[in-house]
């Protein structure tokens, strides 16, 4: 089969893709940014956040798992989708407890950066103010569930990249939370600070101890450019 077997459009732009790619992979390769939070290029997709929702021939579908197909018409950068995605980001802010100014992840946090990119000003939805448990039992890694968005990256990374099973989910609905593979705390798991799972969190939920706030304000990844710029740069260059 030829390498570029499939052709379709995203917002009217023609995109070529390999037949086994997802819309997200094809868009990335073409330098078109589809907003996302739970997706990570080194992991199998989880389908949690739905921020990557696009319209495929008019119907909503999440780009990170939806396979490409010849001739499909994909809408991505539309006002409608931007508003829908912004609603999701807003939900994430009111669902957890986020105090950006004092957060170690500020400036490199993908949730915060996505809020800026999608122009979410102040959340207006009612806050949940949940009581969430902090886990500081590990010598080198913090788990601050207040900032967890349940993207499942740590769960997948531990299995798929580290060959372990440190993280999992627990409970359902609004009570769903990140759990660790021990009867006590994260300190009793086989997590190492060197594991990919320990540093793949998009927010400030999983952080490495004793190296907070190292990058000065102004030099942090999203201080100068919006999230997604790395992918869009390819298009500008190409």
């Amino acid at each position: 089969m030829s390498k570029d077997a499939v052709t379709f459009t995203i917002d009217g732009v023609e995109v070529k893709a390999k037949p086994d790619q997802t819309i997200m992979e094809a868009a990335d390769a073409a330098g078109i940014y589809i907003p996302r939070l739970c997706y990570h290029k080194d992991l199998l997709p989880g389908g949690h956040c739905r921020v990557c929702t696009v319209r495929v021939n008019g119907r909503p579908a999440n780009a990170c798992t939806f396979p490409v197909n010849s001739g499909i018409v994909v809408e991505n950068d539309t006002e409608e989708l931007k508003a829908l995605r912004r609603d999701i980001i807003e939900m994430l802010f009111v669902e957890g407890n986020h105090y950006c100014p004092s957060c170690e992840a500020s400036g490199k946090c993908e949730l915060q950066a996505m809020a800026y990119r999608l122009e979410l000003l102040t959340p207006q939805m009612p806050y949940a103010w949940p009581k969430r448990e902090l886990d500081a039992t590990h010598p080198d890694v913090y788990l601050d569930r207040d900032r967890c968005i349940l993207c499942g990256r740590c769960v997948r990374a531990s299995v798929q990249l580290d060959g372990k099973r440190v993280f999992g989910f627990e409970n359902r609905g609004a009570q769903k939370r990140i759990a660790v593979d021990s009867a006590t705390g994260m300190g009793d798991t086989d997590l190492s600070a060197k594991d990919r799972a320990a540093s793949i969190c998009p927010t400030g939920c999983l952080t490495i101890k004793r190296q907070g706030y190292l990058t000065p304000v102004g030099k942090r990844p999203y201080d100068k450019v919006p999230i997604g710029s790395d992918i869009e740069k390819k298009q500008a260059a190409g």
Binding site: P45, G47, H48, C49, R50, V51, T53, P60, N62, T65, F66, P67, L84, D87, I88, M91, L92, V94, E95, Q124, M125, P126, Y127, A128, I149, L150, R165, V166, F167, G168, F169, E170, N171, R172, G173, A174, Q175, K176, A179, V180, D181, S182, A183
Partner: protein, 592 residues
């Protein structure tokens, strides 16, 4: 003691072939023996299966019938869904609390009895209802409660209690489902045809799925048959959890043979050797009689090897019990659950017909659909298609409950109008009719001329009558609360969006809302509908959206402010701090 538990765990895990896919059965068996699943039990189970503790906890923490705290010897689950509350469940609940001296969610000090609320248990036509250690109790009255509690305390056989009775309540049998059929008649017809012509016959009947989505059954079987895999599976969806639905219960009580007949025909058509019936945990009381029917059919050669003498056609059926989760009715969540995991739906594609149970091609069909299929084989597709309406052939089972004189199960040809139906069930004065359960739509009297069919008003079977005296918005609130409780939590718009919908609705109902809150309800409802991962989230805003549309005045009447009003209650927020600091702002003359 600890050693006893460890050996029980080991034996149980052994009994299910140390198969990780059977974790649901293992957890159910351990829960039945121990009364709860402690962190210690979870650890031992993981060890015995050679998997991680976090995987076992992930699964057991998902289902509402599994407790991780010690519970009483007897566990009472009282249904508190909308219909129950119409019929006085609150008073029954208070009577239990009074009699036991505990609140819901608690256990009596002597560790004897635990009291829980639960969503619809499929007995809405005999409300108020409860499950007591799995045994169904119906038509409860507050004055029954002392006797029931006394019987529990004295260790009597609960099955002997007069309230421990379930009427199948078939008010109107039809020709497709509740008609007699000789055992094996459909199978014998099928095996004299090629699988392709069996599918063709179903296609002639233009049969569409009865579980909600209405997908053409012949097409599903054809996709599944043609999909490549190491094995093919047939799954019967008996998870019936949509509030107000109890028609599959009536089938499983009245004609289980017809369902198994349909499963076997489907197995032949798609090339499956194994069929699984996924039965909701709430219906465990039906299990013994279902197992007896299966045993009988094995004995008659209608299941097993070379069925009815057909060389090479082997098919077996096992029943997989659930453990209390509405979302497991969604076909991909059902498959996850049947594989011993949390019931989280999958992203599609791939569809179950491509990658289903254990990753192999699987056809998931509703109980009623499979009955229709068996009947079509027996009486022909043409005969079937002569009944019903343009795009909806055959009959449909409707479970009618709520404010009506004759609640129960009705088998009626598709196309019947809502008006005719409510006259038939004795509810001509209905304020509204909720068709399809909370995930369906709420019809106002102006819509009563519409017809029950795929092309007009579809339903999986639930019809809830809301009488003229009811507070409709309170029903909407309870429906929305149902989705909050049943959301699996996998994706953001449903996990978080349903809670926000509920809060905003409550703000409006309490008279604290403004016009912008109404606009927000609609906007947010649309977001949850569009962005959610599975059918649960995609329909969770329906109670709100369909009533804003059909009953705008109800909402208007609650709006007291034109301008924006904050959701944040400043006074309330300060209370905690004031209490801790021992301050009284009013006495201090500070006004907030």
């Amino acid at each position: 003691m600890a050693e006893d538990m460890r050996s029980l765990v080991n034996q149980t895990v052994e009994r299910f072939g140390k198969d990780r896919h059977r974790l649901m059965d293992i957890a159910r068996a351990l829960h039945a023996r121990l009364g709860y699943l402690s962190e210690e039990t979870i650890g031992h189970t993981a060890q015995a299966l050679g998997i991680h503790r976090v995987e076992v906890r992930d699964m057991v923490s998902f289902y509402s019938f599994f407790s991780r705290k010690k519970q009483g010897k007897t566990v009472i689950h009282l249904c508190n869904a909308v219909v129950e509350r119409m019929k006085g469940a609150d008073a029954v609940g208070r009577a239990f609390e009074r009699e036991l001296g505990i609140h819901f969610g608690e256990t009596t000090p002597d560790d004897a009895i635990t009291l829980h609320h639960t969503a619809c248990i499929g007995l809405s036509d005999q409300a108020p209802s409860a499950l007591i250690n799995g045994i169904p109790f119906t038509n409860l009255k507050p004055e029954d409660v002392p006797g029931i509690v006394k019987a529990i305390r004295e260790g009597e056989d609960m099955l002997n209690m007069p309230q421990a009775e379930v009427d199948s309540n078939v008010r109107r049998p039809g020709e497709v489902i509740f008609a007699p059929m000789e055992r094996g008649a459909a199978i014998r017809k099928a095996i004299n045809m090629t699988p392709e012509s069996v599918i063709n016959e179903i296609n002639k009947g233009r049969l569409r799925g009865r579980g909600g989505a209405g997908f053409p059954t012949a097409m599903k079987w054809d996709f599944c048959r043609k999909a490549k895999g190491n094995a093919h599976y047939l799954v019967c969806n008996a998870d019936e959890g949509e509030p107000g639905t109890f028609k599959d219960r009536a089938i499983l009580q009245e004609c289980p043979d017809l369902v198994f007949e349909g499963m076997t025909v489907a197995g032949y058509a798609i090339g499956a050797r194994e069929g699984i019936m996924y039965l909701r945990g709430e219906y465990e009381y039906l299990l013994p009689s279902l197992e007896r029917v299966l045993a009988k059919r094995r004995h008659l050669g209608l299941l097993g090897e070379n069925i009815c003498g057909c060389e090479g056609f082997s098919f077996n059926i096992r029943i997989q019990m659930g453990a209390g989760a509405y979302v497991c009715g969604e076909e991909s969540a059902l498959l996850e659950s049947a594989e011993g995991k949390r019931g989280a739906p999958r992203d599609r594609p791939p569809f179950p017909v491509q990658k289903g149970y254990k990753g192999e091609p699987t056809s998931v069909n509703n109980v009623e659909t499979l009955c229709c299929a068996a009947r079509i084989l027996d009486r022909g597709g043409e005969w079937f298609a002569s009944m019903g309406s343009r795009d909806s052939t055959g009959t449909k089972l409707l479970s009618v409950s709520g404010d009506c004189e004759h609640p129960g199960v009705y088998e009626l040809p598709y196309g019947i109008t809502v008006k005719k139906l409510i006259d038939m069930v004795g509810a001509s004065d209905a304020q509204a009719v909720q068709v399809g359960g909370p995930s369906g739509r709420c019809l106002a009297p102006k819509d009563f001329g519409r017809s029950i069919s795929f092309e007009d008003v579809p339903t999986g079977g639930s019809v809830i009558i809301i009488g003229p005296e009811r507070d409709l918005l309170e029903c909407v609130r309870q429906f929305t609360e149902f989705f909050v409780e049943e959301s699996c939590g996998w994706c953001v718009p449903c996990r978080s969006g349903t809670t926000i919908l509920l809060k905003t609705l409550e703000k409006v109902m309490e008279g604290r809302g403004s016009r912008s809150d109404l606009a927000n309800l609609e906007k947010l409802g649309k977001t949850v509908k569009t962005m959610s991962r599975c059918g649960l989230g995609q329909t969770a805003a329906n109670p709100i959206l369909t009533t804003i549309n059909g009953f705008p005045d109800l909402y208007e009447a609650r709006i007291k402010h034109e301008e924006y009003t904050p959701a944040f209650d400043f006074k309330k927020a300060l209370e905690v701090g004031c209490e801790a600091a021992g301050r009284n702002l009013e006495l201090e003359g500070i006004h907030v």
